[in-house]
Amino acid sequence: MIRVQAADFDVGAELAGFAADDRAIGGICTFVGLVRDVAEGGAQVAAMTLEHYPGMTERQLEAIEAEARRRWPLKDVLVIHRFGRLEAGDRIVLVATAASHREAAFASCHFLMDWLKTKAPFWKLEHTGDGESWVAAKDGDDDAAARWDGADDGE
């Protein structure tokens, strides 16, 4: 399931309700992304505004979820991504994957984060003491996503 929202989420409540009725699930892997208080150049980040492309964001995230399900035998997937103004320390993103075995849960959670960073249309505007600036994409993000090319199955 994909959710794109301005509101914060409660990690405990989300996980308590996630895949709760499936007794074949052996493990759930989660990743929670936070707003760091330091920019790439070392400046102090007070807050950021996450802009996104409504419609395309959901469409791309659904495609990424479908790709993860194609690669691993997943029982369930949850991706929550926030947009709007976020303060340092705030939660940005939650990825949770449920599978019979841990390897699929770990690998698919990692894959989902790497892929959504390079494919989901979000842009970060950082607010620092010097003003505001758009965060540039890093080559490292493409490299992290590319490592999954050809790595078709985590089993």
Binding site: E51, K119, D141
Partner: protein
């Protein structure tokens, strides 16, 4: 066609969205970019370095050679930076 600009492309063009009706000769993304860039100094600045611009037609990523037509939704934006570091 409906044109959308996000992040610094929106800042540079000064608009988030515009409806345009280019001549029929503008048949692919590359030709559309050249036509849009001539609309204002802000547009020209936004499209100055196409290596920094990503394009989606009807919400799917495409290249500069992808065809465009009346009724399409075409979005221009920088490489994405979602998720966490």
């Amino acid at each position: 066609m409906k044109i959308l600009y996000f992040a610094w492309l929106r800042t540079k063009t000064g608009i988030g969205e515009e409806d345009v009706h280019p001549p029929a000769a503008v048949a692919d993304v590359g030709a559309l970019v050249a036509w849009l860039a001539a609309r204002s100094p802000g547009h020209r600045a936004a499209f100055a370095d196409l290596h920094l611009v990503r394009v989606a037609v009807n919400q799917d990523y495409v290249g500069l050679d992808h065809p465009v037509k009346e009724g399409d939704e075409i979005a221009f934006f920088p490489p994405v930076t979602g998720g966490a570091r």
